[in-house]
Symmetry: C2
Subunit: 357 residues, 2 copies
DNA sequence: CGACTTCGAGTAAGCGGTTACGTAGTTAAG
DNA sequence: CTTAACTACGTAACCGCTTACTCGAAGTCG
């Protein structure tokens, strides 16, 4: 690179002051046409890229929002476990940011080192959106004291933290409830098992609560705890389903699985045991990742508006940046059950059941 | 937010100069233990987050690398067409950046507005990695004159631009060639059609070239142009396959499709015409997106090391940033064919054929 | 035709860090 | 005891851009 040029060189080359150059670049106004042209030409000739740091320093705004998320596949190599969830959120965040003239700075926390990363990110951005699992609750709270933060999918945030924190989440509870109700009402299943995610996953908890609610509404027996736990990966789903099937005399008539990836694992276990889905055992997932549509049978699941969550989160930080003293709000986005074949519905019925009418 | 504090306040509160505070923060050294503690405490008490812009300005380095990619789904709403390719690249880039103490700033160019976005990105980063299709060749070249840039999957870059540009790509040609060879050698197919991507896609071109090479090596008739074109989406694949089948008396024995998403569309068209895959028509894809494994039949395809591409690209920009005058290199990463059922191989054979022995 | 705007453009004071350089005060060496 | 070499820390000059003021010139108006 031929040593970066500065605004001074541009100013000198076009025979004006730096102030004028600056005016021309930021808002075409404040200069005569002739001057503007001279400046523009000089800038182009020099290949001048204004220094963003200097600009940010002067205007006290970086035009960047940070996105912190957890890198789950700690194992490293496995490509399969990529949680599409994060990717969608990233895309949504990018969209909202770009359309507001900002950009998104991303970083993934891997085991432990998260705290430092978070602070280093914080120093470079106007605001932060932090995905569940990236940071401990206390770190989250303390960082939120210094920078506008919105937490994504983190309903667990302690009340005290809530004061400074904004939260965006999907209605996991309602989604699971609608889904389970579909199983009960439409298909008449009564023996419905639940495979949960990791023990301390708020998402998984919410889904379990919704599931229980539906059972209770139907006057069915309501279990205290999930029938099995997985870790949200396909392998975890296999293990959980295996455990579940082995632990019982007869398999359940249906099983509500904590997310799509585990549901995929679960289905393959059933298949290998000669149990037909949905004929013998109906299976449902959660998330509606793109693979869900292509499974055979296609997976009935609950769609989370992942993209929208990313967008909303970014919009909220930006609003907070613009208006730091506004009261902090929370946002719960609706989920939607997507009926496909794995629950026992016919192929034709690809429509999606909407929320409570 | 209780008005951000500065290094001056920290310095004052701990009774030292800003220089000392700075020294403590950057490298724990250069100060006595007692002083260090006082500074650290003061910083924590104030919830001080050093201003990244000021720091970057002073050290002339942002610690950020930009990633520019095209947002393909111009239509907007459709979620399905999200090319997982980009997501993987993002993840790879993030990984390489974070492990080097940097972060990734992402932005997607949507139709046309790309140029401005690119420059605004450029002003905020140390270097840029730009995905194919984000920018016109001329814009690419001109921006590469002012900032270190590595282009991803952009073999088309004009020779002149090459001088300043670094390029990372996957060996699309070789992948397609190996794949086609597999079809010919292992399965003995002779009538093999090709469904290409968008007309001006370098990736698609390379794949077509590899396909032709394999046919030529086998002394089969070598077509001048692809049998049909799609746009890399599932719908595009459906249209292309439809066109292809309708345009011929008998369907081809096998068809090499430009990417996985189109292959999925193609397969559903075949199915709806009562043609069995792979019994009547074998189908292959390209990319190895996660859905490929879950299709029925599972899709034989070519894996691109998308994550590695993202990592490599970021590493290369960072090296260029550190050593601006080094000669620019290019990198072509190997691809790998992944044999599954859609080509006609038995279920058991889930292994992957490696590159030329 | 003098007073009042309006407009184009320059001056210079920051923005919040970093760091070369300078200076006591200590310790080690001669 | 003098001198050299550290060590711990302060001073102040940047880094490159924005923007509140200023100011002269040109246009407006009663």
């Amino acid at each position: 690179m031929p040593k970066k040029s500065t605004i001074y060189e541009v100013a000198h080359r076009s025979g004006v002051s730096t102030a004028t150059v600056s005016r021309v670049m930021v808002n075409g106004a404040g200069a005569s046409d002739a001057t503007r042209q001279r400046v523009l030409t000089a800038a182009r000739d020099l290949g001048w890229v204004p220094n963003g740091s200097a600009r940010s320093l002067a205007v006290r705004r970086t035009g960047i929002v940070g996105l912190l998320f957890p890198e789950l596949g700690t194992s490293g190599d496995s490509e399969s476990d990529s949680p599409l969830f994060v990717d969608q959120v990233i895309r949504g965040a990018e969209r909202a940011a770009t359309s507001a003239g900002n950009a998104v700075l991303i970083a993934a926390t891997r085991s432990a080192a998260g705290r430092d990363l978070a602070w280093s990110l914080a120093s470079k951005v106007d605001g932060l959106v932090i995905l569940a699992g990236s940071l401990s609750d206390t770190d989250l709270a303390s960082i939120a004291r210094s920078v506008p933060v919105v937490a994504l999918a983190t309903p667990s945030a302690t009340p005290s933290a809530r004061q400074k924190l904004e939260v965006v989440d999907a209605d996991n509870r309602d989604g699971a409830q609608q889904l389970t109700r579909h199983l009960v009402d439409v298909h008449g299943y009564r023996d419905i098992a639940f495979i949960a995610g990791p023990a301390r996953s708020p998402d998984s908890d919410q889904r379990f609560i919704g599931y229980r609610q539906a059972l209770q509404d139907a006057d069915l027996c309501v279990p205290d705890a999930p029938d099995a736990h997985g870790d949200f990966t396909e392998e975890g789903g296999e293990r959980a389903m295996h455990e579940l099937v082995v632990g019982r005399d007869t398999p359940p008539r249906a099983v509500v699985v904590g997310n799509d990836q585990m549901a995929m694992g679960a289905m393959s276990v059933l298949r290998s045991r000669q149990l037909r889905v949905p004929g013998d055992v109906a299976v449902t997932g959660f998330d509606d990742i793109s693979a869900a549509r292509h499974l055979r049978p296609a997976l009935t699941t609950v769609r989370q508006p992942m993209r929208e969550m990313g967008e909303a989160a970014v919009r909220m930080v930006l609003e907070r940046v613009a208006e730091p003293s506004a009261p902090s709000r929370s946002l719960v986005l609706p989920t939607q059950v997507v009926v496909r074949r794995s629950c026992g519905c016919p192929a034709a019925l690809t429509t999606s059941a909407r929320k409570k009418p």
